[in-house]
Point group: C2
Chain length 125, copies 2
């Protein structure tokens, strides 16, 4: 029906609304928030959500690049949900807030996607 197409809720979200949104575990514990998104210039695809962790698990002010496909939005929490335990989080690839992740190093990106068991956004290892 035409009406369905006209009235269905849209599937789009604003970048400046994602930035700052909380990231919580399925049990509701807050891990941190989304600092920014990293976008592939050529394909226009979001490759990473950069998770900012302020002292969670005593980890300091670190940034963790998360493959976008690993996050899902939970309307109940009004937050992104990340199912990750302490061990996985502590060992996850991260970088200091005043430094930059080496986004040009494909082998580092491969390791990151293998870590989260997510197919790489560029199509394959």
């Amino acid at each position: 029906m035409v009406t369905d197409t006209m009235t269905k809720p849209h599937q789009l979200i604003a970048s400046d609304r994602v930035e700052g949104t909380a990231v919580r575990r399925p049990n509701g514990d807050k891990i941190g928030h989304i600092e920014r998104l990293m976008i592939d210039k050529v394909s226009g695809k979001v490759s990473y959500a950069v998770l900012s962790i302020g002292g969670f698990l005593g980890m300091g002010a670190n940034l963790l690049p998360l493959p976008w496909a690993r996050l899902k939005y939970n309307p109940k929490f009004e937050a992104y949900e990340l199912d990750i335990d302490d061990e996985e989080l502590k060992a996850a690839p991260s970088f200091r807030a005043d430094k930059d992740f080496d986004w040009g190093d494909r082998s580092q990106e491969e390791a990151l996607h293998r870590y989260y068991d997510i197919p790489p956004y560029w199509g394959g290892f």
Copy 2:
């Protein structure tokens, strides 16, 4: 060569760096700036860059959703380049800054992509 993969400049850009970046015509005239990006939640693809126009051509403070594929970055200007003339710009689909574009209306999105002659981000009309 492995070294090429390791050292090539990355193809990723940060969402909060895109926001606020100027949009200029090929001749350097400033049209406005990118207010935000609209992202398809399911595919993770950037669908629109929302262009903020502050009084350019006497158009008032309007927002124009531009298909992402229509913009290209020009390092010389440190700005996005949009090849659009006065007539096309004045007639382009826009919305007032205090209102929201009806992102849920697929027929409106179709009209927008036809206007800019860009294939729709969801795959086809």
